[in-house]
Symmetry: C2
Subunit: 145 residues, 2 copies
């Protein structure tokens, strides 16, 4: 059985998950450097979503790492389906959070606030992109299980 | 060959497309009632995306209407694939536009501006939802062609 690079349990998937964890942590960090974010709904939403994405990606990167190093690939369609749906929902949520943050940041720029929020939005977009990639790779892999 | 309700060329698909056209026109209308929107990037983005969604949905609703009334269903996988990818991209774009509009509107509410932008964002969300539904129905239908 040939392994599709990027599907659950491969080293490409491990690097996608590591990227998601790093970018979403960076987005959360840039947002939370001070407590000012609390006054904007969009920023609170971003913090909530990133707080969901980080444990999800971290857990799946551990699963990938286990699967890569112990050479024990996962082939249960049930687990795959849960992972695909989870990735899917989180990818929509992180796109929504990134867009609302970007919209609000663009508005605040006129009021001459710092570019930290821009960085946070950019990180959230990167995290969304990697999450979508994971989801598509797993979806592509599903019929061959 | 059983017809999946919601796939291209059925009456359910026609009503989905009509809904998309109506909601995206409403979003565009609420946004453009005056020219104030021009000063916010998020609102310009919404207007651009809705300007793309309206002709797309209108064209496909005409295709559906033709296919329903002339009883000549479409069965080319190539056309189906173009429709799925188009729906997909437009669904992401309209989610992004709706979220950034909602984020900016929420911020402007503190400055006591009117709820017209809120209505526009809500219409954009409905349009996104219907567009996603169309895309999923067509994707589900694709393997049986």
């Amino acid at each position: 059985m040939d392994e599709l690079p990027g599907a659950l349990g491969t080293s490409a998937s491990l690097s996608l998950r590591m990227g998601q964890t790093i970018f979403s942590s960076a987005a959360l960090l840039f947002m939370c450097l001070d407590v000012e974010f609390y006054s904007y709904t969009a920023f609170c939403f971003l913090v909530t979503v990133m707080g969901l994405v980080i444990p999800w990606s971290l857990t799946l990167s551990l699963v990938d790492a286990y699967s890569v190093f112990v050479k024990c690939p996962l082939h249960q369609p049930g687990i795959m389906l849960v992972v695909i749906i989870g990735d899917w929902v989180l990818s929509f949520l992180s796109l929504a959070a990134a867009c609302s943050t970007a919209g609000v940041t663009d508005l605040l720029l006129n009021a001459r606030l710092c570019g930290r929020y821009q960085l946070s939005a950019a990180m959230a977009f990167l995290s969304w992109f990697l999450s979508l990639a994971s989801s598509l790779f797993n979806l592509w892999r599903l019929p061959s299980l």
